[in-house]
Subunit: 162 residues, 2 copies
């Protein structure tokens, strides 16, 4: 982003007014179908941030944030704004509520959010963009590797590319 | 942080229940006095995150988030939860409100939040920890440099250490 482009950005926005991301998921099938009902607004990208992403993410009833996963190098954080999604980890589940937050350090417990309620859940999710990251999915035949261009590539656990 | 330490962390917390940071400011005097009335809860650190910080920051009436500043390498983002702080930049001011957000890419416009109202303002602030960062303060005789240990060192604009 050039200096001129940076200067032309709006100074502040209503987060809910940001456009939703067009591509619903990076996952290959059959995994992409499992996060149907998830909508992300890339707030950080909107302001030209490069080092981390901040998404305003909405989970419809029954939707989930991601497959159960952990990152090898990147940290993640969520802050609940509306609704009561369930934080699911490898060893348990915790009901969240507005004003609650959770952090997921690189190499920590695998995790995801699942909306088991009848109303939408809305939260902020933050993740950095440290290169060389890998995503591990303990419950699925999936492994993700961040390539040199910053794109996720997905593999079976035996190394075959999806 | 060891694997055992990571596993002993709570999975989720009420953000407001997190302890406040004990040291109110890194700034040298006379600048530290100018951010009196600012309180930060280091939510990201609480969960052992290393790559970025997430603070729950409260500005009492009259308080400000920081001196007017920009970072050379680190990005910043704020999301307003309560109150109506004013976003002040080098070229203007914008009143914020709950649900509004703003991002500050490295090398962008200098900025700070000022609470010009009679009630507290509460917001989330996110910043990454890219090494080699510098803080520029266009309105003050101050420059900040992040040292190899990740601590901020403060200088006059003629290079003398504070």
């Amino acid at each position: 982003m050039t200096t001129d482009e940076k200067e032309s950005l709006p100074r502040a926005i209503q987060a809910k007014a940001a456009p939703a991301r067009q591509r619903p998921s990076n996952y290959p099938e059959p995994f992409a179908a499992r996060i149907a009902g998830r909508e992300k607004k890339a707030l950080g990208d909107f302001f030209g941030l490069a080092n981390f992403g901040v998404n305003l993410t909405r989970l419809a009833p029954g939707a989930q944030s991601a497959l159960l996963h952990r990152h090898s190098r990147q940290d993640e954080f969520v802050y609940i704004l509306e609704g009561a999604p369930t934080l699911v980890t490898e060893t348990g589940a915790v009901a969240l509520a507005p004003g609650m937050c959770a952090g997921f350090p690189a190499g920590g417990e695998a995790h995801c959010l699942v909306n088991k309620t009848d109303t939408d859940a809305l939260y902020l999710e933050i993740g950095d963009r440290t290169p060389g990251d890998r995503g591990a999915y303990p419950a699925d035949d999936l492994e993700a590797r961040l390539d040199a261009e910053g794109r996720w590539r997905f593999f079976h656990k035996d190394g075959r590319l999806y």
